[in-house]
């Protein structure tokens, strides 16, 4: 809270704030970071293994193996979310499990599970992309803008 706002508060509230700050359990920031780092890194390691698998056993290059790898990781997370395993990983690792692409799969399926009781169309159908929808829209839209800029520069910029 900014100092300006603080000044307007009644003295009781200020007193309470000081009390609360004293009593509040501090977040173990470093520990959380370390957990997120390790689990996120582990997820990336699995992704690298899948990618290498696609390069060795299918007709994918390093360039093209990214797409099936992403799809596989998202699919695996969706399964894990359905079985209730990913929630526990998320509880433990926080951002480490949400930031990699696996967080996307989790966001889709957890929303679907959450709204299942409201029916399949208005519940699941209406809410499944509640969190992931903006991600898709932002992704597609920003990709479009970047591609547009690139095209303009390359085609008419004379490079």
């Amino acid at each position: 809270m900014t100092d300006k706002k603080k000044k307007k508060l009644p003295p009781d509230a200020l007193k309470y704030q000081a009390f609360q700050q004293q009593r509040e359990v501090k977040r173990p920031l470093l520990k959380n970071c370390l957990k997120a780092f390790l689990v996120g890194g582990f997820i990336c390691l699995i992704g690298q293994l899948i990618s290498t698998f696609y390069i060795y056993y299918f007709n994918f290059t390093e360039q093209t193996a990214g797409n099936p790898t992403t799809a596989t990781l998202i699919f695996l997370t969706m399964l894990l979310t359905g079985f209730g395993v990913y929630d526990r990983i998320g509880q433990f690792a926080g951002a480490g499990s949400a930031v990699p692409v696996t967080g996307f799969g989790n966001a889709v399926i957890s929303a679907a599970i959450e709204h299942k009781t409201e029916g399949f169309i208005l519940g699941v159908g209406g809410n499944i992309f509640k969190i992931a929808g903006p991600v898709i829209v932002y992704g597609v839209f920003s990709a479009f803008i970047v591609a547009l800029i690139k095209t303009i520069i390359l085609e008419w910029g004379g490079f």
């Binding site: 470093l30 390069i55 060795y56 994918f60 290059t61 390093e62 360039q63 093209t64």
Partner: protein, 149 residues
Amino acid sequence: MNRKKAIITVSLFFLLFGCGTDSNTDQNKQDTPITGSNKLIDQQPSADAKEMINKHEEISAIKAVNNSETIVVAVKVNHSERFTLKSLRKKMEKELKDSFPKLDVEFSTDLKIFLELEKLEEEIQADHFTEDKLDKGLKEIIKLSKEQT
């Protein structure tokens, strides 16, 4: 609490710096020089290219195959050098193009291209290998290397 912090710091230290010492074990560069046991297809340009590129310390392995028009070269780059992959690629590609002005040079650092070339190199050694097969194989590899999505 202090002890805990110290343990975390030390473990972080090991975690981050533990992997930094290797990387210069490039003594075992796997270059299988094509001696040209198959007289039908001259692989001398490939052998020359291998020798040339192998001088770079950033490379851990190299494969090259050529026919009368094209030469395809693929290398494995040491992991610590992959940060400068783009400039490395540029440098070596230019070097190859300067050395083989008559051939179409395709240079790649992609693992898949490396594996495919390795396969093709082995096939060339076989007696019943024909030039048509080589052309077809090289064409496929070049097509693969051009794929974007």
